[in-house]
């Protein structure tokens, strides 16, 4: 059985940390570990392919505002010297024997395993969706090929109904479908045919977004732009030839072009590893320590976890510091001191060169105010400054976030200063929360 940390007389033996996944979460974890542990641990990253995509950039590809070739870099080259890189898909994890079996036949023993393999898109889970995508009736911008195909389809589109459909939650970057709607509105206005295009966001949620204050604000922005919103729509079928989305309770939404965010699940190897994942292939994880519930020597970061935090790069960034502190504690035989608060933030592109910024955690919903403090960027309101922030984020991603650097003024715990708490149904936090960042 995978027990506790290595005994004290084993400290001279180099400890092995295997990280499955060389995306945002896996890369920043590897770099932080290497920097903090140096030669005291052998860190190996495993990924099935060599391409690291800047995923936030995919949103801009369909509108010709980003070129796919500019969004991709080598995975291995984002890792600090001294970190091992192994290119193969994982076959399964043997939790009891503390070994990862790879598809190329290699077997990697570990003292600590980090699961950072993200979420997979599963169009096959929805009747008709894979066929509709193959026939050019439905597109997804959540992967590079789909985003490029959608760019061509939009360029050829000169009027009709576009349905933007989220099939089910959870999804990566839950604001991206809303941003897509805003950018589509702007795109067709610039082309001078906005009056001939009907845009509708079709979501299983009961509003534009999951959290009430942000949902109201974003719902208002959709209304201003004459973008339709259909809520509590649980898509059961995408009928490409008939041009309709059909919900499980029999409602229909017609379309000429469907932009679909498919069902997400964990990676297939998780389900092939007995005891590791839940029914959807996500890994049950302690939401504070980021330790898996399957075994104390398995930790989880980013989209692969079953946490109620957003599946977003900012979450992986904020989790990174906590995760590495806890892995160090675990290897040293100490209690896990790091506690993640669910902190997430994201820029929401709203078109016309503007964007909103939201910042929240497990207990505090996105509020108006300023970030990270009273003189920072405006929260939950459109501004040009936030759009520039979103553009600058790409450089920040490659040069600060992936290397796992601490950013001055950008703390792991959600800042409370600058937020307008009084406006929210968050009175508990207001009354009892300690102003630790003020």
């Amino acid at each position: 059985m995978a027990g506790g940390p290595a005994p004290a007389d084993a400290v001279t033996v180099m400890q092995r940390v295997v990280i499955l996944g060389g995306g945002t979460a896996g890369t920043l974890t590897a770099n932080r570990l290497r920097r903090e542990l140096g030669g005291r641990a052998a860190v190996t990253v495993v990924d099935r392919d060599g391409d690291h995509w800047y995923q936030p950039g995919l949103l801009f590809v369909p509108f010709g505002r980003a070129r796919p070739a500019k969004l991709v870099r080598s995975r291995a080259r984002q890792l600090r010297p001294g970190i091992g890189y192994h290119q193969s898909a994982a076959e399964h994890v043997d939790i009891a024997e503390r070994r990862v079996h790879l598809e190329n036949g290699a077997i990697l023993p570990y003292d600590v395993l980090v699961i950072a393999t993200g979420a997979a898109l599963l169009p096959g889970e929805t009747d008709g969706l894979a066929e509709a995508m193959a026939r050019g009736k439905a597109f997804t911008f959540y992967e590079p090929g789909g985003a490029a195909a959608l760019r061509d389809a939009l360029a050829a589109f000169d009027g009709g109904r576009i349905a933007i459909n989220v099939v089910d939650m959870p999804i990566k970057c839950p604001v991206a479908p809303i941003e897509f709607a805003f950018l589509a509105d702007w795109y067709f206005r610039k082309r001078g045919i906005r009056d001939r295009v009907e845009l509708t966001l079709v979501t299983p949620l009961d509003g534009a977004f999951t959290r009430p204050v942000a949902s109201r604000e974003l719902g208002g922005l959709l209304e201003d732009r004459h973008i339709g919103l259909i809520t509590e729509f649980n898509t059961g079928e995408v009928d490409g030839d008939g041009g309709r989305l059909v919900s499980f309770d029999g409602r229909e939404v017609g379309f000429d072009l469907a932009v679909v965010v498919p069902v997400h699940g964990g990676q297939a190897y998780v389900s092939r590893s007995p005891g590791l994942g839940d029914a959807l292939g996500f890994v049950p994880t302690d939401e504070r320590t980021l330790q898996s519930k399957a075994s104390p020597d398995i930790f989880v970061i980013g989209d692969a976890a079953d946490l109620r935090a957003s599946k977003a790069g900012s979450v992986a960034h904020f989790e990174g510091e906590i995760l590495v502190r806890n892995i160090r504690g675990f290897l040293a035989g100490d209690p896990l001191a790091g506690s993640y608060d669910g902190h997430a933030n994201c820029f929401i592109e709203s078109g016309s060169g503007k964007a909103l910024l939201i910042d929240f955690n497990y207990d505090t919903e996105p509020l108006a105010g300023r970030f990270p403090g009273p003189v920072g960027l405006p929260l939950l309101t459109e501004s040009r400054l936030n759009h520039l922030g979103k553009l600058a984020f790409q450089q920040f991603y490659w040069h600060m976030l992936l290397p796992g650097r601490d950013v001055p003024g950008l703390a792991t715990a959600m800042p409370r200063a600058g937020k307008r708490f009084s406006a929210a149904a968050d009175t508990q936090t207001v009354l009892t929360g300690s102003p630790r960042d003020e």
């Binding site: 059961g236 499980f248 109620r308």
Partner: protein, 105 residues
């Protein structure tokens, strides 16, 4: 928060009618909650799902989403919608006396 009376016993529910305390629920209450939500008689198939929801809640602290519910209970999503129209996860949670399954964000 407000109170309701099911099967002759007062229970605490939130604004949307979900139980605040799953411990206050008893089996005899389920048919009344179902009727109030516009459902007819609870069949053995309904009960299978309701029992499963309580089991999942006890184990994980939240009710499952529709998809997870289907995968683990063996009842197809289509049938779940036939049994509990308009949102099986929410409706079954309400009848099972557990809090509203927390939305993913």
């Amino acid at each position: 928060m407000s109170t309701k009376v099911y099967a002759g016993t007062e229970v605490t529910v939130n604004d949307e009618g979900f139980f605040a305390d799953a411990g206050q629920w008893r089996e005899e209450m389920a048919p009344e909650i179902a009727r109030e939500a516009g459902l007819g008689t609870l069949t053995p198939r309904h009960w299978q799902v309701v029992t499963f929801m309580r089991h999942e809640y006890a184990e994980k602290g939240t009710g499952p989403s529709v998809r997870a519910l289907s995968k683990t209970s063996g009842v197809s999503v289509k049938e779940l919608y036939q049994l509990f129209p308009k949102g099986p996860a929410k409706l079954a949670a309400k009848i099972a006396g557990i809090p509203k399954p927390r939305g993913c964000i």
